[in-house]
Subunit: 275 residues, 2 copies
């Protein structure tokens, strides 16, 4: 299995505080040391850093810390390999162009069977279930919509495709096109939104403390989505199985609540809202 980290903001924000805790789980406080990757949207473009070395000690990860990149949308992943060798082509997040946009995807889980990809528009490059599932999702979207539809239609279609893929195994994911961020929970995913009044937070993985008042403006809003909470003294919303969230400018614009149980077998996906 792996761990996921996503950030969606209303102002370009530095993810270093969260990423520095997160990457300790890649070999120090946890065992997700089979490579890491992080993609920062900058406009429609992406800066992406990958390494097959453990995130906690990778020089590439050190470089990210020094560079202080600010972004509206970030997707990161630390890997504990289940399917596929430990190499760069199997390192999340995966990226494809869809409708003239970069789409970025990271997965935590394990799909024990995969759809037939013979005729798929998008083809996996590596050998992970994750990249195959992402390519399947994008191919389905492109087949359904020759041109980019509105966000409600995208959200609804992703739910349908996800419902199909979750029949094949555990499928926690974070997905972003640089405007919005969608997350789906099969087993473990948590989120919070930091906004005024800002306070302090202490990282779980090394006790480091930050006072967001030293960095944030009154109007700033930052949503963090991650497998397990990164701080001790903040309220993290635990997503339920089958739950979806869609964030834009750090606001939750759509949600499917999911169910307490980890197994969805009644075909329902909870209550949908779209703001």
């Amino acid at each position: 299995m792996c761990q996921l980290l996503g950030m969606n903001c209303n102002t370009p924000t530095d993810i270093v505080f969260s990423f520095e805790g997160f990457r300790r789980r890649a070999g120090l406080t946890d065992c997700h040391s089979d490579g890491f990757g992080i993609a920062f949207f900058e406009g429609k473009g992406i800066r992406v850093f990958r390494d097959n070395r453990p995130g906690h000690s990778s020089p590439i990860a050190d470089c990210i810390k020094q560079y202080n990149i600010k972004s509206l949308n970030v997707v990161a992943h630390i890997r504990k390999a289940t399917q596929g060798d430990v190499n760069i082509e199997n390192t999340h997040p995966f990226i494809r162009e869809l409708w003239g946009e970069n789409w970025v995807f990271a997965h935590n889980g394990n799909l024990t069977s995969l759809p037939d990809m013979t005729e798929s528009i998008f083809q996996p490059i590596g050998s992970t279930d994750s990249e195959t599932a992402f390519c399947y999702m994008l191919s389905q979207l492109k087949s359904r919509f020759a041109k980019k539809p509105n966000e409600q239609d995208i959200f609804a279609a992703i739910q349908e495709i996800t419902k199909e893929l979750t029949q094949r195994g555990t499928f926690n994911f974070i997905l972003s096109n640089g405007k919005w961020m969608i997350a789906h929970c099969s087993t473990n995913l948590h989120y919070l939104t930091r906004k005024a009044p800002f306070g302090k937070a202490q990282r779980i993985d090394d006790d480091n403390v930050i006072d967001f008042r030293d960095y944030a403006k009154e109007t700033d809003k930052v949503t963090i989505i991650t497998t397990f909470p990164l701080t001790k003294d903040e309220h993290w919303n635990k997503m339920m199985s089958g739950g979806f969230v869609m964030f834009k400018d750090s606001d939750k614009v759509a949600e499917i609540l999911g169910v307490e149980s980890e197994i969805i077998d009644d075909g329902t996906l909870g209550v949908q809202t779209f703001a």
Copy 2:
């Protein structure tokens, strides 16, 4: 305009000696300071680094120098913007997945008109002529070949598509799928192959000297393709207008010679060889 750098080898090789000279042209010895990018193939995967800061002073470029990445195929670009703003989405090299492979492309030149992309399978994300031309090329290839054809067919198809695109302007490019590297010259492109017996070379841009005997094994072969020669004391092959080369494991496996003139108007593309 811009400058291009490509490397194709028979053993994973560190590009730092070439890249350190090349990136001085991004603000010190030349004016190509509107961002840089470099993609290193590692197996079927890619490590890519981009910055919209000048390559000569970018902390990302400093990180590359320290990290000592070894690769069989590298494509790099320093930009002097002609079309499109200076931002990450307009930073070469551009990358797309075709037939389950990463294809990496960098362009030097200026296309004064562009093909209609409305129905194109691949869509540009940024606003450069270069990315549009790349997407057009890939869409044409995918339309002609649903499955990956052999390398001769790829080389021939790229010639045809390039011939069409060169009607629209200057189109020097380097393209790689991680196995082979194809380069096309409209105006300026040079290459050399370093192999035993190895000797010394001195960089043009800062007079730094390397003795390849300190690094290379007897069987190593390294081909460098670049806009203008990077060293003083090596023989660089100047490509002619309309010329194509295809390298694999550092060997030239196919070539179109092109013509001395910078204008091709007789519909011929010189003599083709395929080894």
